[in-house]
């Protein structure tokens, strides 16, 4: 009996000690920064990197300039798109440099909770679509119309596509209506998810090396076009009516993807207290050509992100000088 009381008392003590140690008040997780930030007493900024290389190019150049021109310390964290919004609203990262349109998150965090502030346009427009390699399109020009796709299903078969043609999709984090499109357009295809962009790119490169035909979900701007030239397959045109239908029921979409202007988003607190870094990130805007140049250096020439950014910064001062606050 006595021992039991003792145990209870000591347990209480431990809890009390823990509570005092941590301050015993409310601890707002959204105010807790990364433990690696500010480690050596410098001003630091955390940028989210998405898995695709274009986004890495933005971050690389922003990081390089923040470090070498403005004297910040920059950390980058790789997160998928939707979790990145979440992290941004919690202040775990300070900025997303390239967003392809997440209306649901935008409404929740920008309009309702006001924890995220828009950071302006990136200057690059993005487009998602279906693409075939140029060598295949040259040999069979009519593959470029979706109505003829079924004719080529047999040539596009793979072990994973269960007897149908294969439409290769990439990372599950990307915006895609492909399953709905295949069903609604009556195509004899199966959507095969590569699971990650890295896997998808590897597969495309391998097919291109063999000059094998393929049909893939892809997007521009993307550096891979320089290495594997591809031509877009025309889908039924994008209309407002179709977009409204898709917003109500994603499985009803039967038209092409829109062309989106890519945007930046910043943590709301960061825009207020981030000083020069926040203003710099807001000013950051460049062209598709610039982005591709850096992305190509990273992905194809296998330069480190830092090295690629350094080279681009050296050659293009007229572009970035005006970003500096």
């Amino acid at each position: 009996m006595a021992r039991k009381t003792m145990t209870a008392v000591s347990a209480l003590c431990v809890v009390a000690a823990a509570a005092t140690a941590t301050g015993c008040g409310a601890a707002d997780m959204t105010k807790q920064a990364s433990p690696y930030a500010d480690a050596v007493g410098t001003k630091s900024v955390t940028l989210s990197v998405q898995s695709w290389v274009g986004a890495r190019a933005n971050t690389a150049v922003a990081k390089y300039l923040l470090e070498h021109e403005l004297g910040y310390r920059v950390d980058t964290v790789q997160v998928d798109e939707v979790p990145a919004w979440d992290a941004l609203s919690q202040g775990r990262v300070d900025a997303i440099m390239e967003d392809w349109g997440h209306p649901e998150q935008e409404k929740r965090y920008v309009e309702d909770k006001k924890t995220i502030a828009p950071g302006g346009d990136l200057g690059v427009t993005g487009h998602i679509g279906w693409w075939v390699p140029k060598y295949f399109a040259d040999a069979h020009p009519d593959v470029l119309d979706w109505r003829n796709l079924n004719k080529y299903a047999a040539q596009l078969r793979s072990p994973e596509s269960s007897g149908k043609g294969q439409l290769l999709d990439g990372s599950p984090s990307y915006v895609t209506n492909d399953k709905a499109l295949v069903a609604n357009l009556g195509l004899d295809y199966k959507v095969v998810f590569a699971g990650s962009e890295a896997a998808q790119i590897t597969q495309l490169q391998q097919s291109a090396k063999e000059k094998k035909p393929f049909l893939t979900y892809w997007y521009e701007p993307q550096w891979l076009f320089n290495e594997v030239p591809m031509v877009e397959v025309k889908l039924p045109p994008y209309t407002q009516e179709c977009a409204d239908k898709g917003a109500k029921d994603p499985s009803a979409v039967d038209c092409a993807y829109p062309t989106t202007s890519l945007k930046k988003f910043l943590n709301a607190d960061f825009t207020r207290k981030g000083g020069k870094a926040a203003r710099f990130l807001k000013n950051f805007a460049w062209s598709k050509k610039d982005q591709n140049a850096v992305a190509q250096m990273i992905a194809e020439d296998k330069l480190s992100a830092d090295e690629a950014a350094k080279r681009w910064v050296k050659e293009n001062p007229e572009v970035w000088k005006k970003w500096l606050p």
Partner: protein, 686 residues
């Protein structure tokens, strides 16, 4: 799984012998009844005969009947929305989770600051000295070389981040594990209650429970540490309990007769006697925690894992390897150091894959007459070491690692990979190349297997699982296995799970064939074993992510690369356990077999394999658990099925999809574990 049906007692059904016996049929039945395996099957058959017609009549014989499924999408989406909306205002988050997260972040920050303050020379010196003190000069040299290599690879800062996170995660895991183990070691009831929980935690692929942690804590270091603790605490708990429970009865009685109280008994006898198990537990916990380092990068853990993950998104195997090598080196240093502390003789990496028994290394405190002098010497040594570390730290200043002292290995590694892919992808003599190999594996092995499993009537699958689990274990394991499978059906993930299951079964089969083929020569010749050991060490600790991209380059996108990665990952454990089992076979038995003129093959089949059966079954069990964990990660390279759903859930923050798939994976893991778990519980004669 199919391997088990080959258990010896099944093959020989006794035929009715004599016409003179009164009722040959009855006699045969009685003979059958005498065999436990057959008895179990008969009982099961009887139960099936009653239940199956009912089940088939009411709910058909196709896949899992929709009447028994529960759709959790709505409540889960609701829960997810609630958490996001209330995360910054509700008291549970402010006063509980907030403090948990804050404490973790504070601890990691503190450790990281110390590591940075020590500088590269300080950290390296400290690590080498610690290794020397604990495990001897050889390990100290390994530590020195390893830390230098981390710096040379240009990975110093990420290595320190991972190390800081690991130190905190391991400390928490060891504390939690030791407490649980203490409770389980001292009370039978707690032990019984805890065991299935620990079993489940260990059979769970880590990928499956990342999402709920992320939802509550957001991305970052806090959820990474927590996920690591869930993954790494069970071995500590298990080994602590084992150590406490296997205390020598005689010693205990002697201590009791001296009038020691309960606490004295624990502190002076049971804990010191369990020292070996405790240290082995720490060792296992560290290994598990390190293997989580990369997986945790998916939820923003930063450090080396993040470098691997980022390198993969640019298909840059060389950089991924440059970040993967420090992980391997850290693992080797930490393993050798803690293993050196556990026993005077050098131990092998991961040697403690669940193995009971073993002799405790050191008995009760050594005592001795020159204790005081030893203590003085020890203090002096420590002071000298501290001074050395401080000097090293001061000498290098605050620069993490000199930029010029790095070696770029990425480019040559990528060239090597490209060369390999170019030469293996097509144009291999005989089989046509890895691409064709993958296509054949998919269409001839995986597709039929998957279609077969999916075509299996739902009650048939349940029966099959029950039979397998019961034959190998007890009715309890069989019940758990059946309930797990049923839970998958209830969650509405039957077809996907069968797809995943087919991938696991096929990959396990290949792993076992290859593994046993390698284990046999390794068990016979110490030289082969020595050659193999470093290779196994590296493959076992190299993060799975590093070889995901090369396998895609070789085998294309789909289920084949996932299988290849799984086989590479599971093979070392299988080879190790199997060769260990074969080597341990009683030399007397081998000798007598040889003296009877048995050939090498006969010795193997009739002596070694049967005698090493428990170890071989353990190898199967480990293969199943490891393969499952990689098949899930295979969702990243087109493996599809449950793995894809988890990846999708994580990527889209979709709790309904991710969590349901995660639970289904957990159930699948539990079911597979039970179906292949021979050693648990009282094995009633089987």
């Amino acid at each position: 799984m199919t391997v088990h049906t080959a258990s010896p007692q099944m093959k020989t059904a006794p035929p009715g012998r004599d016409a003179s016996a009164p009722h040959p049929a009855v006699l045969a039945l009685r003979a059958l009844w005498a065999r436990p395996a057959a008895r179990k099957l008969l009982i099961l058959a009887a139960a099936a005969a009653v239940l199956v017609p009912v089940a088939a009549a009411t709910h058909g014989s196709g896949t899992w009947p929709s009447a028994f499924t529960v759709d959790l999408t709505k409540p889960l989406t609701g829960a997810s929305d609630w958490i996001i909306d209330n995360r910054d205002s509700h008291w549970a988050f402010l006063y509980f989770f907030g403090h948990v997260s804050g404490a973790i972040i504070g601890a990691v920050h503190a450790v990281y600051t110390v590591l940075l303050a020590l500088g590269w020379a300080g950290v390296t010196a400290a690590a080498a000295l610690l290794a020397w003190r604990v495990a001897g000069a050889r390990v100290a040299v390994i530590a020195l070389a390893s830390f230098a290599a981390c710096g040379l690879l240009g990975m110093w800062v990420p290595t320190m981040r991972t190390l800081a996170l690991m130190i905190v995660a391991v400390a928490v895991s060891v504390a939690v594990g030791a407490l649980l183990g203490l409770a389980a070691g001292l009370s039978d009831r707690t032990f019984r209650a805890l065991r299935p929980v620990l079993d489940t935690m260990q059979a769970l692929p880590a990928f499956a429970y990342l999402l709920p942690v992320v939802l509550v804590f957001g991305i970052g270091v806090a959820p990474a540490v927590l996920a690591t603790v869930v993954y790494a605490a069970p071995p500590m708990a298990r080994l602590t309990a084992l150590g406490l429970r296997s205390t020598d009865r005689g010693v205990l009685e002697a201590v009791e007769s001296l009038g020691a109280t309960g606490r004295q008994r624990l502190l002076t006898a049971r804990l010191p006697l369990a020292r070996r198990e405790l240290l082995l537990g720490v060792n296992q916990t560290i290994m598990m925690a390190l293997s989580m380092a990369v997986i945790a990068s998916v939820i923003g853990a930063d450090g080396l894992g993040d470098r691997v993950y980022q390198a993969l998104s640019t298909v840059d195997v060389g950089s991924a390897l440059a970040a993967g090598i420090p992980i391997v080196l850290l693992a080797i240093v930490l393993d050798r150091t803690t293993a050196g502390a556990a026993s005077p003789s050098p131990r092998r990496l991961w040697a403690g894959v669940p193995q009971a028994g073993g002799t405790p290394g050191r008995r009760l405190g050594e005592g001795g007459h020159n204790q005081r002098r030893a203590r003085t010497r020890r203090t002096t040594a420590w002071l000298a070491a501290l001074a050395a570390v401080a000097t090293a730290a001061l000498a290098t200043g605050d620069k993490p690692w000199p930029d010029t002292w790095t070696v770029a290995i990425a480019a040559p590694v990528n060239d090597a990979k490209d060369w390999m892919v170019d030469h293996l992808y097509t144009g291999l003599p005989g089989i046509g190349g890895t691409a064709d190999l993958a296509a054949h594996y998919t269409t001839w092995v995986l597709d039929p297997l998957r279609d077969g499993l999916q075509a299996l009537p739902w009650w048939g699958a349940l029966l099959l699982v029950a039979a397998l689990a019961w034959l190998i274990g007890t009715w309890r394991t069989a019940l758990t296995a059946v309930l797990s499978l049923a839970a998958i059906g209830v969650l509405g993930r039957w077809e996907l799970s069968m797809d995943t299951l087919s991938q696991v079964v096929a990959a396990v089969a290949v792993t076992l064939v290859l593994g046993f083929a390698i284990a046999v020569p390794a068990a016979r010749s110490p030289r082969v074993e020595r050659l193999l050991r470093p290779v196994l060490d590296v493959f076992q600790t190299m993060p799975q992510f590093v070889y995901l991209i090369p396998v895609v380059a070789l085998f294309g996108v789909g289920r084949a690369p996932a299988a290849a990665a799984a086989i590479v990952y599971a093979l070392p454990a299988v080879v190790r356990i199997a060769s260990e089992g074969l080597r341990r076979v009683n030399p007397g038995a081998m000798e007598s077999a040889r003296s009877l003129g048995a050939t090498g093959g006969q010795q193997l089949r009739q002596v070694q394999f049967p005698l090493a059966r428990p170890q071989l079954l353990l190898a199967v069990n480990q293969a199943v658990v490891l393969v499952l964990s990689v098949v899930i990660i295979g969702g990243l390279v087109g493996g599809g099925a449950l793995g894809y759903e988890v990846v999708f859930g994580l990527a889209q923050g979709d709790l309904a999809t991710g969590l349901t798939a995660g639970v289904a994976i957990a159930c699948l893991g539990l079911m597979l574990d039970r179906v292949t778990q021979p050693t648990k519980g009282a094995r009633d004669g089987a």
